[in-house]
């Protein structure tokens, strides 16, 4: 009997991982300062084998202190946003849901603005105040939405509407603070457009624990997310507690989102597009969507960041690049999948 399940097949995962590795390596080889990709490759080979490197100490520092952490951070942020988006779409059974839906973006934006406005001169912490504030703001925004939603009743629609209310409230505070301090608008705006231009190993270390924990939790919960798509009544009749599952997976997804936002600002589009592309190419079961969104999100954002830092002399905001490249690609996938259906 042929296997008619939607499963993560080994060749598919392998191809995905190979593509990711290729993207990661190529992103390290190319950069704003032209070191020559053969020489960078030789340097990487020398690090592995302990041989002689063709790069000077300064050039090696560019590779290991600037490029590698930045590329890794792009991968981590992309994986986090894509897997959170997939989770939000599953929990809310809404294809337009994205990781910022429950106030993560608004909370982070408000907190970042307040830091820029109120404490512009704080420096010398181990981690800058901006990432910390953004992280706390994102978690706070989602937590507030959850509390408001729960006080109004159970169910995903209530939670969704609570998210809308909380997000507009926090955005109003942010806008107000900004209006009172117009000289900071540029700094806040740059942060909000998203980017990885200040990334180093510190940011990688900051984001990795949260994103890994979230990734493990979400991969383990993939089958439960499939059951949740049946709706609360049926999930409950199958012996599950849909409210608890939602709490756990939304907490995990929000943690990953907050970690991503804190190191990279607000990068749109990844959370919506990547899971949909995965669905169209590999199937709609969350056992496929969750792991492949991690891989696909990582590869997509590394590519987008590579464009952002090399296409023009100055750097483009990463959020602009993801939308500019992602939207046409998404439209193409949408068209071709529709044609295949009809």
């Amino acid at each position: 009997m042929p296997d008619t399940r939607t499963r993560l097949r080994a060749p598919v995962l392998l191809i995905g991982l190979l593509v990711l590795v290729a993207v990661l390596v190529s992103a390290v080889l190319a950069g704003a300062s032209d070191l020559g990709w053969q020489r960078v490759l030789a340097e990487m080979w020398a690090q592995v084998t302990g041989g002689q490197s063709p790069l000077s100490a300064r050039e090696a520092a560019i590779v290991w202190q600037l490029r590698v952490p930045r590329v890794l951070l792009a991968a981590i942020v992309g994986a986090a946003l894509a897997v959170s988006g997939a989770t939000f779409q599953g929990v809310f059974r809404n294809p337009l849901a994205d990781p910022y839906l429950l106030g993560a973006a608004a909370g982070a934006g408000m907190a970042a603005t307040l830091v820029v406005v109120l404490a512009p001169a704080v420096t010398g912490w181990m981690v800058g105040p901006l990432p910390l504030a953004a992280f706390a703001g994102a978690i706070g925004g989602v937590g507030l939405s959850w509390l408001v939603g729960r006080s109004a009743g159970s169910g995903t629609n209530t939670l969704l509407l609570a998210g809308v209310a909380v997000a507009s409230f926090l955005t109003a505070i942010q806008t107000f603070a900004q209006q009172l301090n117009t000289q900071t608008i540029r700094q806040v705006y740059t942060w909000m457009l998203g980017g990885l231009n200040v990334s180093g190993w510190r940011e990688v270390a900051l984001a990795v624990p949260y994103v890994s924990v979230a990734a493990v939790v979400l991969c383990l919960s993939a089958r439960l997310l499939d059951v949740l798509t049946l709706g609360d009544a049926e999930a409950a009749s199958l012996g599950l507690r849909p409210g608890r599952i939602r709490l756990v997976v939304l907490a995990a997804a929000s943690l990953a989102t907050a970690a991503a936002v804190s190191v990279s600002g607000l990068i749109g589009f990844v959370g919506i597009v990547v899971p949909h592309v995965v669905r169209m190419l590999a199937g709609a079961s969350y056992r496929v969507v969750i792991p492949l969104s991690l891989v696909g999100g990582a590869a997509f954002l590394v590519l987008a960041d590579q464009l952002a830092r090399t296409i023009m002399p100055g750097e483009l905001p990463l959020g602009v690049v993801t939308a500019f490249t992602g939207a046409p690609f998404f439209a193409w996938i949408l068209r071709s999948s529709r044609r295949r259906v009809s």
Binding site: M1, A233, G239, L240
Partner: protein, 274 residues
């Protein structure tokens, strides 16, 4: 053996009671049809038995009250009136979700679970559609897939809320025949709501008539489905007759009699002249 017994069950949504004291007994292997006008509380009774609503009174399943959610899900299979059909999942994926009560929270399905699903698909004549996406099924195929999901649960009590919704006469009949066959082959108990009273009379061996959240009649189809009861509780005029093969049939009739047709909608009155 009694598969399900309800004793003065009250339940509803939030503080709004919908069902006010319903009692019923269904023997193992029986088929109880819950009928009644719109808003009578039919679906609410099913949801209460499925453990989805908080209830007062006593609900006993296989003689046991207050089953845990997990235990309940291994005995009771519930198919709502308008089930969510996850787009993009294959029929196999969907039916496999019915194995959830038998799996640990984070466990994966074993070969045993897969063979149960294959067997259920075979039995419901869905094998050829096993790899088809749920959103590409016709109405009849979809209802069979929902039934397959409930059967994969290996439940002994099936709660089916309007299983024939959206099906034409032939497909509705085929589905009910299928349910009846499974009931006889496996000895499972069926409790279903049914809009179509003729189907209720033909397939169920007991009928419970609800009106305004109260049980107003219970018994065999012939005892419950009378012209008087239909008039009193549905506000309907109908004849209850017996077919040549001895089956009960409920036939609606025009309140004013057949000649009322020409009197009200005849050509002379349809186009007012002035």
């Amino acid at each position: 053996m009694t598969a399900l017994s309800l004793h003065s069950v009250r339940s509803g949504y939030g503080d709004e009671p919908v069902v006010h004291g319903v009692s019923a007994e269904v023997p193992t292997g029986g088929w109880l049809a819950i009928v009644g006008p719109n808003g009578a509380g039919k679906s609410t009774v099913l949801k209460t038995v499925a453990g989805l609503l908080r209830a007062q009174g006593e609900v006993r399943i296989d003689g046991r009250a207050r089953l845990s959610r997990k235990d309940l899900s291994r005995i009771v299979g519930y198919a709502p009136q308008d089930p969510e059909l996850p787009a993009g999942l294959t029929v196999t994926d969907y039916v496999l979700l019915g194995r959830t009560p038998h799996l640990g929270l984070l466990a994966r399905e074993s070969r045993h679970d897969l063979s149960i699903v294959d067997e259920v698909l075979e039995r419901l004549d869905l094998s050829a559609l096993a790899g088809r996406r749920m959103d590409m099924l016709s109405g009849g195929e979809r209802q069979r897939a929902v039934l397959a999901r409930v059967l994969a649960q290996r439940a002994s009590l099936l709660l089916l809320d309007e299983p024939t919704t959206g099906l034409d006469l032939g497909h509705a009949q085929a589905l009910l025949e299928l349910i009846d066959r499974l009931r006889h082959e496996d000895g499972i108990t069926v409790v279903s709501t049914l809009h179509d009273l003729t189907f209720a009379a033909q397939y169920a061996d007991q009928v419970l008539l609800l009106d305004g959240g109260r049980a107003v009649a219970a018994g065999t189809p012939a005892e419950v489905l009378t012209a008087e009861a239909l008039a009193a509780h549905y506000g309907a005029t109908a004849e209850v007759s017996t077919t040549g093969r001895g089956e009960l049939a409920v036939l609606p009739t025009r309140p004013d009699g057949p000649e009322g047709v020409s009197r009200r909608t005849g050509p002379s009155s349809a186009v007012p002249e002035n």
